[in-house]
Assembly symmetry: C2
Homo-oligomer: 259 residues x 2
DNA sequence: ACCGTGAACTTGTCTAGAGGACTAGGTAAC
DNA sequence: GTTACCTAGTCCTCTAGACAAGTTCACGGT
């Protein structure tokens, strides 16, 4: 078994924190590698001479930091880092669409991960107040909502919902589950709305229980939220996309002019 | 006291999850408002008829979601949302610097929060491999590291460390604790490096214990990380800034051309 | 008026033990 | 060979109690 230190009863930090610290150090130093199993609760109890709840509290601390994941009946394992996906700010460049690839597919292929999209749902909904504001719609307008889940190498990494004004989507494959080559941005341009630019609002928070389930992440793993609005060349908003990404799976890259 | 429901022993969810769910609902529905105190442990024990550790586990769940914060000796409170600060992508525009304001001061004033910068430390360091790569330096070069903490309305919201090649900083006020009006970007331009653009890499993760302490956040609150590289008009990198922001205090806005 | 003390409240930490649920592997019955 | 069961190991949930540490406030003494 791995060499753990000992706890110091005269230390001002409580034992469970010391134990968590010792385990954290072993992980950070690579003595416990991603995917490896931590000592079991009974081993930790034996080793440190504390009660069961104390070692559980230590492990709980590491789970809250997202460093480890517990699997019922099997053990606690160092979280294996999923492939980090860098999203460059040119990921919506027209040249990708012209090759018949959606942004996600193009980016995933470039980084060498097997992309997959599932749980696609298309509905026709009334707009919310916020959505009406962003899409310059009146409150009795309707939108097409396209939600889906993205996976890389079989691991869920993102869920997203796009909202397109019904007036734009009508008569296009946007209302189909399979929206065709190049994704919905290709359809929007074919419908005569040449894309001009996007605005993206990025933030981060802890996932809701629902999101945890769909994204298959444990507690202690935050999500990146990204709210994107697409504008055509006349500054008319044509789409709003609300995406939730598993945080440690992504690095978003942006270029900002100094002006 | 607020109306809590009851737990259902025949439910397949364990009691502590049910209790957490009931409390979560009350918060989401606004029956427990930000800043308000949750029922104390003894009240919850009385009400639900469970053991102390069970209600603690329920509260622990909510703390992990960042919904509530516990204060030793006082109680558990619904987390009050700090002022959300929107960072527009033009926040480094030259016009701000020309008014003698750093990006943070300009942005904070615009959004009506009292800005403060403290814990400023300036050191001369050897570069790391990654830093050398980003700043196009050789591995035996040195950089000036400027770290500081930002507060809005007295609440810590961000810590940041800037790295400037010694060759650029030499002879400027960049090496002083007080870098003068307009911030270090103004100094860099005065030194003859006209700024061209920035790249920013955004991600998110759980804070380290150190960051938790400096940013005064509880467990269950993620941080946004932002790694910015500043380039002059000749595409020469002149600064790298590593910032850690309290996630719920920020929304980052970017504009992306469709190209 | 001021200060200190203590009581009563809060959450934090730890102990000791019980039963449950899930996993993996071996074994016996078919 | 296949299936069913059993068992050992794992983490999950809950109980009951103890002491510690931080906060608040009223009460008495000065």
């Amino acid at each position: 078994m791995i060499d753990l230190g000992e706890i110091d009863r005269s230390d001002d930090r409580p034992p469970y924190r010391q134990i968590a610290g010792l385990l954290r150090d072993r992980i950070k130093l690579g003595r416990l590698k991603p995917g490896e199993q931590l000592p079991s609760e009974s081993e930790l109890i034996q080793h440190f001479g504390v009660a069961r709840m104390t070692v559980r509290q230590a492990v709980q601390e590491l789970r809250g930091e997202g460093l480890v994941v517990a699997e019922h009946g099997k053990g606690v394992f160092v979280r294996s880092a999923p492939p980090v996906r860098r999203l460059a700010s040119d990921r919506f460049a027209r040249r990708h669409r012209e090759q018949g690839k959606s942004a996600f597919l193009a980016e995933a292929e470039a980084s060498g991960h097997a992309p997959l999209v599932d749980q696609i749902r298309v509905t026709n909904e009334a707009v919310t107040a916020e959505l009406a504001e962003r899409l310059h719609l009146s409150t009795d307008d309707r939108v097409i909502a396209r939600s889906r889940r993205y996976l890389a190498d079989g691991v869920p990494v993102e869920i997203a919902t796009s909202y397109i004004p019904e007036r734009i989507a009508r008569g296009t494959k946007i209302t189909d589950v399979n929206s065709g080559p190049g994704g919905i941005y290709a359809r929007i341009e074919e419908a005569g709305h040449e894309l001009g630019h996007f605005t993206e609002e990025v933030s981060s928070r802890m996932p809701t229980p629902d999101e945890r389930k769909v994204l298959q992440i444990g507690s202690g793993v935050p999500v990146l939220t990204l709210l994107r609005t697409a504008y055509d060349v006349h500054e008319v908003p044509v789409e709003v996309c609300d995406t939730v990404k598993v945080s440690h799976a992504y690095i978003l890259e942006y270029d900002v002019p100094a002006r």
